[in-house]
């Protein structure tokens, strides 16, 4: 290393040498400037977790072990209501983001809470469905199909649960600190997360519920 430096120093001026080794014009990195890209990377890795679960369901979805199948267990009307809840929560979150852009603190909080109501309704319906299935003996231990089903749909439900906890945290933070840049950034991350869960749900209702009922 030192030998190389000594060699090149014959040909380069001191200023050129410094420029070659140090970034003298280091530009300002604003706080949180890379957060959105980093959070997107997280979402993409999360996407791969769901890809594995979808692959497992695709492979094992037909192994009923003489147990109940999709047609015995699923109620498409309930799934349709559930899908509507998640869609409504997506649009209300969007309206919360628009209120945030206009710096309307109260409106942001109210729309976030409406989003939480729809999110909680989604979770309640899903838990009701799981409870109903388990009461009928369709537990995750019953067959490979049910293991794959509960893993996939359960992981999505768990994501919604953590999204809700995050949402309530942000409502409280916006309440105490207001719509400061840090809170806006956090709200935008949760926005990506929330809409991403809706995208995953499209895959779930298409491949698990609708294709199962065909």
């Amino acid at each position: 290393m030192t030998a190389t430096t000594a060699d090149t120093s014959h040909n380069l001026s001191q200023a050129q040498l410094q420029a070659a080794f140090y970034d003298l014009n280091e530009h300002d990195h604003p706080e949180g400037g890379s957060t959105m890209l980093g959070f997107w990377m997280y979402l993409m890795s999360d996407c791969l977790i769901f890809a594995m679960l979808f692959a497992a369901f695709g492979v094992l979805g037909g192994n009923f072990a003489a147990g109940p199948g999709p047609k015995d267990l699923f109620d498409l009307k309930l799934v349709a209501v559930n899908t509507a809840m998640l869609l409504f929560s997506s649009i209300t979150y969007g309206i919360a983001m628009i209120a945030m852009e206009k710096n309307q603190k109260g409106a942001t909080q109210i729309w976030l809470l409406i989003t939480a109501v729809f999110g909680a309704a989604f979770l309640s319906i899903e838990l009701f469905e799981f409870h109903h299935m388990i009461a009928e003996g369709a537990t995750p231990m019953r067959s490979a199909f049910l293991t794959a089903f509960f893993s996939l749909v359960g992981t999505h439900g768990l994501h919604v649960t953590f999204g809700l906890i995050w949402l309530f945290t942000l409502v409280a933070q916006v309440g105490t600190k207001g719509l400061i840049p840090a809170n806006k950034r956090r709200l935008m991350c949760l926005s990506l997360f929330w809409h991403f869960l809706d995208v995953i749900w499209i895959g779930v209702f298409t491949f698990v519920y609708l294709m199962g009922m065909l």
Binding site: V59, S90, I98, V199
Partner: protein
């Protein structure tokens, strides 16, 4: 923190990462409602008699709806973060397709070759 240096930095930053207008969200919402309702209707009423045709149609609707969500709700575009979000997305899709198609393909053939599938196959066993 850096307010005295770049007073508009955060504001610009927030706008640069992309936000929808109310119109964008409403368009996305109505498209999603339509793209969700049609597959449910197809399956619940059995409007298309052939099951594999129905499966292909509802998969096509799912793909379109995912793109609608990406554009109108996640505000994906090729410019945000100098195109790195799109690069990450493309990479993820490549890995996703390899994983899904690979798993399904390999496991289908494994089942096909290893398992006695029915009474006829059982009879063929040595």
């Amino acid at each position: 923190m850096s307010d005295h240096v770049h007073p508009n930095e955060h504001v610009d930053d927030v706008h640069a990462s992309g936000h929808g207008t109310l119109r964008d969200y409403l368009i996305g919402f109505f498209l999603s409602v339509i793209l969700t309702a049609i597959p449910f209707w197809l399956v619940m009423t059995g409007a298309i008699a052939d099951k594999s045709t129905t499966a292909l149609v509802i998969m096509a609707f799912a793909m379109v709806q995912i793109v609608v969500h990406m554009i109108y709700f996640l505000h994906m575009n090729t410019k945000s973060e100098n195109g790195w979000t799109v690069m990450a997305l493309i990479f993820t899709i490549v890995v996703l397709v390899i994983t899904l198609s690979g798993s399904l393909w390999v496991m289908y053939h494994l089942n096909h070759n290893m398992m006695p599938m029915n009474a006829h196959d059982m009879g063929q066993l040595p």
